[in-house]
Symmetry: C2
Subunit: 743 residues, 2 copies
Amino acid sequence: MKSNLIATAAAVLFSAVVTAQPGSILGFSKTAADKQLSTEKKFDGNLKAKNIDQFIKDLSAVPHHVASPGGDANAAYILNKFKSWGYDAQLETFYVLFPTPLTRELSMTGTTNFKASLKEPVLKEDATSGQTATQLPVYNCWSADGDVTSELVFVNYGVPADYELLARMGVDVKGKIVIAKYGQSWRGIKPKVAQEHGAIGCIIYSDPKEDGYFQGDVYPKGPFRPELGAQRGSVEDMPIYPGDPLTPGLGATKDAKRIDRKDAANLLKIPVIPISYADALPLLQSLEGSVAPEGWRGALPITYHVGPSKNKIHLKLSFDWQVRPVNNIIAKLKGSELPDEWVIRGNHHDAWVNGAGDPISGLAAMMEEARSIGEMAKAGYQPKRTIMYCAWDGEEPGLMGSTEWVEFHAAELQQKAVLYINSDGNGRGFLGAGGSQALEPAFTEIIKEVQDPQTNVSVFERKRSADIINATSAKTKNELLSKTTFELEALGSGSDFSPFAQHIGIPSMNLGFGGEDDGGEYHSIYDSYDLYRRFKDPTFEYGVVLAKTAGHTTLRFANAENLPFDFRNLQKTISKYVTEVAALADNMRENTTVENKLINQKHYSIANNATAALLPPVTKDEVPFISFASLQNAVTALEKTTNALHELAVGDLSVANRNVLNKKLYQAEQMLLTKDGLPRRSWYRHAIYAPGFYTGYGVKTLPGVREAIEQRNWKEAQEQIEITAGAINSFTANLESAIAGLK
Amino acid sequence: MKSNLIATAAAVLFSAVVTAQPGSILGFSKTAADKQLSTEKKFDGNLKAKNIDQFIKDLSAVPHHVASPGGDANAAYILNKFKSWGYDAQLETFYVLFPTPLTRELSMTGTTNFKASLKEPVLKEDATSGQTATQLPVYNCWSADGDVTSELVFVNYGVPADYELLARMGVDVKGKIVIAKYGQSWRGIKPKVAQEHGAIGCIIYSDPKEDGYFQGDVYPKGPFRPELGAQRGSVEDMPIYPGDPLTPGLGATKDAKRIDRKDAANLLKIPVIPISYADALPLLQSLEGSVAPEGWRGALPITYHVGPSKNKIHLKLSFDWQVRPVNNIIAKLKGSELPDEWVIRGNHHDAWVNGAGDPISGLAAMMEEARSIGEMAKAGYQPKRTIMYCAWDGEEPGLMGSTEWVEFHAAELQQKAVLYINSDGNGRGFLGAGGSQALEPAFTEIIKEVQDPQTNVSVFERKRSADIINATSAKTKNELLSKTTFELEALGSGSDFSPFAQHIGIPSMNLGFGGEDDGGEYHSIYDSYDLYRRFKDPTFEYGVVLAKTAGHTTLRFANAENLPFDFRNLQKTISKYVTEVAALADNMRENTTVENKLINQKHYSIANNATAALLPPVTKDEVPFISFASLQNAVTALEKTTNALHELAVGDLSVANRNVLNKKLYQAEQMLLTKDGLPRRSWYRHAIYAPGFYTGYGVKTLPGVREAIEQRNWKEAQEQIEITAGAINSFTANLESAIAGLK
């Protein structure tokens, strides 16, 4: 009934939009499609918002970080639920380093004496905010132990470009403590870059511009960060490798071989702490020196200066560096025909505190999916392939549970994993989805049939309308109006898809809804059930929508006769990336030439504003011409192959041939892994996607090539072009062999 | 010596820049050029920063608004100085309406009771801030009398687009009091648009984002607006007509015919008052309703809401509506050969309070120019044409002194005025210059020979470097690098050039330096000598630079054999404007089509964010195709004529012919005046430039055409295209007759 409603609405509003023919689904014969649609209808019928509400309430009732009593209780709750729904479920435990704070002191002495509170207040309007005995206090996990005293310098977001501008202001952070604001880059980049520049300590604060009163009313009146709210979070250098720092590349079983902590390449050497804007205010007020550039200024009622301060800042931090258990829950529903092909769905269960939004809102949707399928299974339903539900532990400190599990099971996963579907929280609003672009046509078909609860259109249409309205030019609006396929974002990092996609090449997705759920509760004690039901998804209907979206995706890939990967979309996307990196080099060449001219002709000195003086930038080496030919040839060859693959009459294949082909298809992306991984971070092996070395969560596509260009390492850029082209060519050859094998 | 220095620096740094050949000046024969350069050298040699310092100190010693004792004393001081320097100087008095405040009350009752202070505190660091007995209090001149009580609504900058967005938020200001922030539009637009939308009162406040702590340290630590600083200023509807509201188009002599105040089309019907951000804070905090859109939010530490408030705001204002004298000082130095050709230099002398920066810093430079020329005259020097110095009164309430003088002397000025050169304040930094683009080549020559005091380059080069550095694309930077001619900005309004240029078609310029003198003292008691010498031009050297720039321009036009107007530059500029308005219509057509489609297809409803809900915009009439052919043909014909005029061998002309031609040239722009003026504001008669009906000071080029398109009045747009083309054709025909007259 729902898909009829949607089809009608869509036909009225967007006659240009091609909707699926009734009864026709990519990867399914007519008969199989009818059965599948009936299965999905049953699946939808079982989903209940009140269950999602209850899961969120139960699982966010107490703090449940790694190795906490609340975490253990939640793991047991989840395990029992899966078992009760008929799954073959078990705990799978790894043992990872996980530091918790012992000492946290931040103070200032000089013209003003100040001691930071480092404490989020209990609110009578928030029932769980008073669970102070079991809350992890505000800290950055993987800060070094340290006891440092120095002047303070404000470094804006703390990304490399900020230090370039500081240098032009004549400010050096060497031997100083820096204060950076949250935002723009992933938090772990801030102390890493500070450390690279010689800082001896780092403070990260939540400016009210980012998620405080500037954005909206603060909690409890509204959902935004109150003055003493602060953001916990990991500062493990995940762009080097995620997971247990002591067991890179290996599953952290009890007796795994561990490296020494001091040798862990993804750990900081300097102390770092996150603070609230109330705690930051006196520190920022103590800064002298230049007025901060306009883009650096936040929403505090002060003139932002960059420093250094004359006052001395004292930061003392120490941690309890223990190896502790992380408990993944792995629940299987065995496939009837292809039990050794796995469609995997995952969401983590650990939180920094109560975590109603992050991660429980995503986990609750996933559990409701599993419950619905479990109910169907009890009535006799069996998927063709094995469906696996994974509730990961230890995501917050650094994707611990998922990474160790993937590392431990890597060989088996590379044989069996068809698709990994991740979520990490959910809220009211618009679909957000990333993943391998080969999934786009099948996923588009799915999301055109899932209805948005607040409008009379599909979640596809709602997101498309938002994209159109948010576009800034008539040209882009017109282009988007004619778009019929959803474009999956490239995956960076920041959640449990990373080991699947980037370490072992499993086709992966990350799903969630949001945009009408903005707030400032992230990683604070206020990410609570009380806040969630007021501001994030008051009716829990977007939990149901996520369950439908992820559930249909799971069921389609679990039951498809011909796995609906369309590598033409991936080819188009890679081709776009190739165009981008070539344009990046060209733009850098043009900009470098003109900037060097401006510097040499002293235009910077002449134009210098004496009241906001800046030293001229330094000249940079001119950008040589780089050959992108091998990449361009590789994507051209890939285009032919993906077109040929699409022309195959897969419906006529024997079951045996179809199974051979399917396996080739789901394993295909593994060919895009490179032997040596990325330079200086070999854990990341995917030639097309990686988190940025200096962006953290933010993706870099064609990362070897793009980052070499960005870092002006021309020799490496050329090498990486060849390596990446080689990976694409292997991918193409593998698809060619799949085609040939059928002839 | 200076020009050699500059030529060397320029040659080293910018080999592509063409500098004037030594001894060659546009408009001068070789012999005359040598004499002129020697004159200018003498002129420069007389200029002294310490005189400018002293003038600023003397003339800002006490408050000196219209009809105040301080104003009278300053007028006498200026008059005496000019006389002492040998000028034929006199006071020329007009009698204009000028309201001063009697009652000023602003309060709030409800959940919070609050009474606004409306008072700028005395600062011990600022010697004149304590002259409270003679300061005009904080007010908006030309506010209506009123006593209103209602809820408050925040309207951002208070421009029409803000009300469109308010309507989409479901907020109507009818019967409400609005609060707008200073910035973006000229202040007078804010109550005018509020009144158009049915508001019954208007408050304008200075958000710290605009010129308070967000921008830099506040006074007295730095130059920015302190929490109780407020901006006085006129809200006369000057885009209708400036000057005395009671004598539109006529000089306001003692017995001029006056209209009734209630019939004055440029006066408001609602009360309006400017307040500080300390006074605004409790008012803004009282607002309920939607969170203000991001672009609306300022730098106060609150969540900005749009309202309405539940609390009631009470605003009571009354004024003493008296006709009072404004005293212009007009000082002449008679021309030796062409006494009936006038080169006019002006700057106002009235201020809102002490006005060290606005207007005295500009006036002081002008006086030093006059003093230098006076000194030369005492030694026997006589300019070829008459030089006239004008110190205007009553500029602050609405260009009173200059407008009434121009209206009174219009016929004579249209015969005799060669050029009007305006300034209105000055500070450290970069050249800013606007005016008729026919002046560009001559002015470029001048500013390539005036050296910037802080760098080793000319003021032309310094400004060009700043433009290059501030450009955002390599393409624009490269274009600017090859630019050798300074581009004059089109003149809008906001100073005394307006009656000259836009009412009677006199070629005009507006000059000033700035950019290293930012502050928040504008129209407050803190625009003082103390602040000026600390933050605006500490060494007064930029006063000397303004004197050189304006002085050389005055002397060139006073002495030129062939007046160096180059109408090719004006033609190119008009041609660019024609391209712009045609593109404006095309863009509006494309945008209207796509926006109407988005509205009709309900994309706005579908994309609506429930937590920041907006009604869809309303559809607009589709944009018809408009013919720009007559304008395009007019600029094409003008191009031929201006080229032919440039090819004339003016050096071979007899003195008589040359004088005939010169007069044709300086009167040429009068042909660009239209008979009926602009629609609904006939005082503005220039077809190319006007202040915007909804921007105030901000210029609209081809105003009749551009504003008709912007206001979607397609019929009027077509009419105005024909009228504007007609004016350009008359201008062309007049130049053709000048050429023909010489053959």
